[in-house]
């Protein structure tokens, strides 16, 4: 039986991604304490105890733009949403400064406050901001209630309740995995006999003596193991190296032959 805090399944599914986006960049996140343009506007309005239904648009626009500039001086990428709001504010400001053109504007436009839409958006947003607070409190209390974990029938292979999103994520992982395997196979195919010979020669040129096991461990596949074996045979046959085993079942050392050394160096240079 495994214990768990709320009844979340404790499996690999949980480990798909790190916790939340806040971990990315502390500094950035701090400045983004304003969730977005609406949040910033609400802050500016509350700070000066402004009546939300009668926003002094020029003053607010000025403060808003100052904040955006602050972000820019700190070399922080300003989210597009902030810039869109800046444009909206400037537009509203200009519209309020200019007397409405009676020729182009319809009757309804004459009476409409250019700020109306923004005010409505702010009021709507504010409700959800409060609701988020309520959710936070609920989660806080609920997080202090502990339940018993699942009766694990098979600890190595626990069963979980999955959602369609899990299915998609798993499917994507499988595709990624298949792609990785494929790429590995392609890499593997590229290793030819002559490349193997060059690999061993280069190692010998650098170190004069190498442990044969090391070279075998470089092989990524059975095919490459065989290739390595054949390459050693070839090099022994050509008297490029000798194989030395100091004791029965001991390590096998490949040593460059004395008289082969100059040739090896030449080879290494020419590459």
């Amino acid at each position: 039986m495994a214990k768990s805090k709320p009844t979340t399944p404790t499996t690999a599914l949980e480990d798909f991604k790190p916790d939340d986006e806040t971990s990315r960049d502390d500094y950035k996140v701090k400045l983004e304490a304003f969730e977005g343009p609406l949040d910033l506007l609400l802050y500016l309005i509350k700070k000066d105890e402004i009546d939300i239904y009668d926003i002094p648009i020029a003053r607010i626009t000025k403060q808003y733009l100052e904040y955006v500039q602050l972000l820019e001086t700190l070399n922080i990428e300003v989210a597009g949403d902030f810039l869109v709001m800046a444009a909206t504010l400037i537009y509203i400001k200009s519209k309020m400064l200019l007397p409405p053109d009676p020729k182009t504007a319809g009757e309804a436009d004459l009476n409409e406050d250019p700020r109306a839409e923004l005010i409505e958006q702010l009021l709507e947003y504010q409700k959800f901001k409060s609701a988020a607070n309520m959710l936070y409190e609920k989660a806080h209390v609920e997080g202090a209630c502990y339940t018993r974990g699942a009766l694990a029938t098979d600890k190595a292979n626990p069963e979980v309740t999955a959602t369609v999103v899990d299915l998609l994520r798993i499917f994507k992982d499988i595709l990624d995995r298949a792609k990785a395997v494929q790429e590995m196979e392609i890499q593997r195919e590229e290793m030819s006999m002559s490349e193997k010979l060059t690999q061993i020669r280069t190692l010998l040129a650098a170190r004069k003596e190498i442990n044969v096991r090391e070279v075998f461990e470089l092989a990524a596949s059975k095919r490459e193991l065989i290739l390595t074996f054949l390459a050693f045979l070839e090099l022994v046959k050509e008297s490029y190296l000798i194989l030395i085993q100091s004791q029965l079942f001991g390590e096998i050392i490949a040593r460059a032959r004395e008289h082969a050394a100059p040739i090896l160096e030449e080879l290494a240079v020419s590459e």
């Binding site: 805090k5 806040t22 502990y146």
Partner: protein, 242 residues
């Protein structure tokens, strides 16, 4: 309290219980023949195919045991003790056998007040459409000390805000969330999906057929809600806001 899509609350199992029953019968025969097909198709690598096949018993074979009236309370307590998720009332009744559901409900309520009355460290509550025993929040420090665990990571404010919008506006698309929050919410939505607090709820029949999102059962559990109706109405936040 207003109505927030009560139908979203039900688990798929409840929602489709009767459809399931019908389909179950249809698919049972099908599945059985498929299994034997597959069995012969596969090169019999498995060592113990007969045991796993015989484990596949339809629920109908169940020997019916019914809890006596006096047994109801302790039986419910025992079942809820081992349950790792809230047990819906209907499921509980089915487990208890051929019991009167009013009796079963009375037993639950009595059990709940027993826990209250005796100053227990545990509590019995209805949550996420089911009944659950959990520890009381005031003992969390001792439990954390025993489990050597830290409180679970909290949701970030953007994630909470996004969750609030989804909870109240569901089913809702990503652009709709953006419109209310005034800021891109994709990464918050991704976080919420990863934490299983929201789920996809089909597609919206508009251009591009975007995915719709809604809250999950896990949301109800983690936020201690019986169902979505228990959320205060969004209009209640209006006075708070101004």
């Amino acid at each position: 309290m207003s109505n927030h899509h009560p139908e979203e609350v039900e688990t798929p199992t409840n929602k489709y219980a009767e459809i399931f029953a019908r389909l179950a019968a249809e698919e049972k025969a099908e599945a059985e023949s498929e299994i034997s097909n597959l069995k012969s198709e596969m090169d019999a690598v498995e060592t113990e195919p007969e045991s796993s096949i015989s484990n596949f018993k339809p629920d109908l074979d169940e020997v019916e045991i019914t809890a006596s009236l006096g047994e109801l309370k302790p039986a419910i307590e025992a079942v809820l003790f081992v349950a790792d998720e809230p047990v819906p009332f209907n499921q509980l009744c089915k487990i208890l056998g051929d019991v009167n559901s009013a009796d079963a409900y009375a037993a639950i309520v009595e059990l709940m007040s027993d826990y209250e009355a005796r100053n227990s460290g545990l509590e019995l509550r209805e949550i996420a459409g089911g009944w659950r025993i959990s520890t009381r929040p005031q003992h969390h420090e001792f439990i954390r000390k025993y489990l050597k665990s830290k409180p679970s990571a909290r949701l970030s404010l953007p994630a909470l805000e996004t969750l609030a919008v989804i909870a109240y506006k569901q089913p809702v698309t990503v652009p709709e969330v953006l419109e209310i929050r005034g800021v891109s919410s994709s990464s918050a939505i991704k976080t919420l999906l990863e934490k299983r607090l929201i789920v996809t709820k089909g597609r919206k029949e508009t251009v591009g057929r975007p995915m719709l999102y809604g809250t999950s059962k896990e949301f109800l559990i983690q936020f201690g809600l019986r169902d979505l109706n228990e959320l205060p109405s969004i209009e209640d936040f209006e006075e708070l806001a101004s």
